[in-house]
Amino acid sequence: MRVNPLHTALLLTPATVLILMLLVVPVAIVAVMSLTNWQFGAATLDWVGLANYRELLADPVFQKSISNTLTYLVVVTLGSITIGLGAALLIESDTQLRTFYRTAFFMPVASTLIAMAVVWQFLLHPSVGLVNQALGLLGMEPRNWLNDGRSALYSLAAIGIWQMSGLALVLFLAGLKSIPQDIRDAGALDGIEHPLDRFRRITWPLLGPTTLFVVTVCAIRSLQVFDTVHVLTKGGPNKATEVLLHTIYSEGFSFLRMGYASAMTVVFIAGIFFLTQLQHLAMERKTHY
């Protein structure tokens, strides 16, 4: 059947309009805004070229923010994958209570992090918090988790792991299910019987595509960390937990420097774009058999 080009265009219209309206145009506006010195609410703006980006490069807060975000990303991604994969393997190895564990681990993913952040605030409270109480029982020094510059970022990362490992777990469970029983059987006959061998020679390689996906999702979601920071530390103490999204928010909506915040947003979007491309490349190269 010959397809009328007009029909093709007509059928493509809704998707094209949506993508343009919701994705391309807003990003373009942000990109244009990053070249101006527009203040939030101001009636006028000046063209400043790349001045915002030059300022970014020299801005110590932005540098701190980038390094904090990357630290958070690495800790949360590694932590979530380790815990998620470990728990998935444990749950998969036995049929009992499987649904319960899956639901329990997934709960943090489904809950509102802002609300949960308040719960964590109580848990990590320096004097009455459960964490310090428990440490006290074990004879260890209590800490001021969220207000200590050395531990604040890692405390937030722990909350991030608590939230993200459920997602990793569910994805890994699905990945484990998709490993053909025949291959495990063939492995058993070939002598791949020790659990470590089985993991290294069959499970882990065959989970490759899943792992890559989990890494990307975790990394992108860690880049987007904002709610816990905003509720618990506001980027403090002394910028110890300043992360990219929070910096953008402060610059744009607290200091009203929209042009500067837009420049940061562009960098942020570029980062996410880069991560996705990296995943794509690796997918094609390594993990598709």
Partner: protein
């Protein structure tokens, strides 16, 4: 290598009994096929022998050795799967070497980089490579050594799976419908290759299939299975010419065997289609008369006469397959005639003769019963 003895084997999944107290002896070096339609328990039986699943009751012994106490890799069985079950992340070479490396190397030797520290590990790896190469050469797949399974055709994958099974020199080869995913021509070729392989290696092959052509053409003995039991165990010829019961008779042979109602009267006289066809010892009562489609003849000979309307004629090149609707019988009778037979057309009435000697007699409950065919009369006039 001794025989494999299976006795009283039972396996159930939930409330479904898949294997029901099965007894079987597999002789050393024979090619035994487990034949049955899907769900008859043949693959489950194979997995129990391989150790991939544990039975609920019963024993599996290799000579005096209790196989059930051993792990799959200790049982000295190699298996070829329908899905090939190759390791998708390894090259062909890696796949074939894996069983040797797993057996040859200890826990530390299997860790990555162990070859850097231990000359012994390096030697074992080199030996594994060498013998894997040799097996690959014998199957004509050494040219694919560096490829991944995804880059191979179905036939090549199955050859790699065969090589991976052969490289360990196992005492028993288990095949789980290995040819089912291949196209007809390739299936034919590989059927021959597997049979030749059996003759070269001289070890026991246990082959699971639902394809009666595979079973009949490859095996020394066939075990026809149904609902977790073995219906009949015998050579392909025995299974075809003396089916032990109606289920076997109907499962083996294509097109399917024809059935008519008959009756055993007093003194063991067997009647069918209104005439005497032979004698059978034992109690009187209704019985089933069966004959193969190939037994029918268009020319009139002394024998059972089947008359009906021709409802379908298929020309296959080598023969004509004709379906005859006979009065009082639900299923049409099917006959195979030579392709050069006189022209027959759908709708015409046809009379087919079946020599008495071609008749199989079964009880009303489907068990074969002794049958002595009426000797053919040379001339109808006599």
């Amino acid at each position: 290598m001794p025989d494999i003895h299976i006795s009283g084997l039972t396996k159930q999944f939930g409330n479904t009994k898949v294997i029901k107290g099965l007894d079987l002896t597999v002789r050393d070096g024979e090619f035994l096929t487990l034949l049955g339609s899907s769900g008859c328990g043949k693959s489950t039986l194979l997995k129990l022998i391989a150790g991939l699943d544990q039975p609920d009751a019963g024993a599996i012994r290799l000579g005096e050795r209790d196989l059930l106490a051993l792990s799959p890799s200790q049982r000295d069985c190699a298996m070829v799967f329908q899905s090939y079950a190759l390791y998708p992340h390894m090259t062909v070479g890696g796949n074939i070497c894996t069983p040797l490396l797993m057996r040859g190397l200890g826990f530390w030797g299997r860790l990555p980089g162990a070859g850097l520290f231990s000359a012994n590990t390096r030697r074992i790896k080199a030996e594994a490579q060498a013998s894997a190469r040799k097996v690959a050469q014998s199957l004509g797949i050494d040219g694919l050594w560096e490829r991944k399974p995804a880059q191979l055709s179905g036939g090549q994958r199955q050859r790699v799976a065969l090589a991976r099974a052969m490289v360990r020199r196992p005492a028993v080869f288990l095949f789980d419908e290995p040819l089912s995913n291949l196209d007809a021509n390739l299936r034919q070729t590989l059927r021959g290759e597997i049979r030749q392989l059996h003759d070269q290696l001289g070890v026991t092959f246990i082959y699971v299939t639902h394809d009666q052509h595979e079973a009949m053409s490859m095996s020394d003995r066939v075990a026809v299975m149904r609902e977790g039991r073995i219906l009949q165990l015998g050579t392909p010829e025995e299974i075809y010419t003396r089916p032990a019961n109606l289920d076997v008779a109907r499962f083996v042979g294509a097109p399917r065997i024809n059935l008519l109602d008959g009756e055993v009267k007093a003194h063991g006289v067997v009647w069918a289609q209104g005439r005497l066809v032979g004698h059978s010892h034992g109690k009187a009562g209704p019985c089933r008369i069966a004959f193969r489609p190939q037994a029918g003849m268009l020319e009139a000979v002394d024998g059972l006469e089947v008359e009906g309307t021709l409802v379908n004629v298929e020309y296959t090149g080598a023969e004509l397959i004709a379906s005859l609707q006979v009065d009082g019988i639900e299923d049409a009778c099917v006959f195979c005639f030579p392709a050069n037979s006189p022209a027959i057309r759908v709708g015409q009435t046809l009379r087919v003769s079946v020599p008495f000697g071609e008749i199989h007699l079964f009880d009303a409950d489907g068990q074969r019963r002794p049958f002595e065919a009426l000797p053919p009369v040379m001339s109808k006039a006599a």
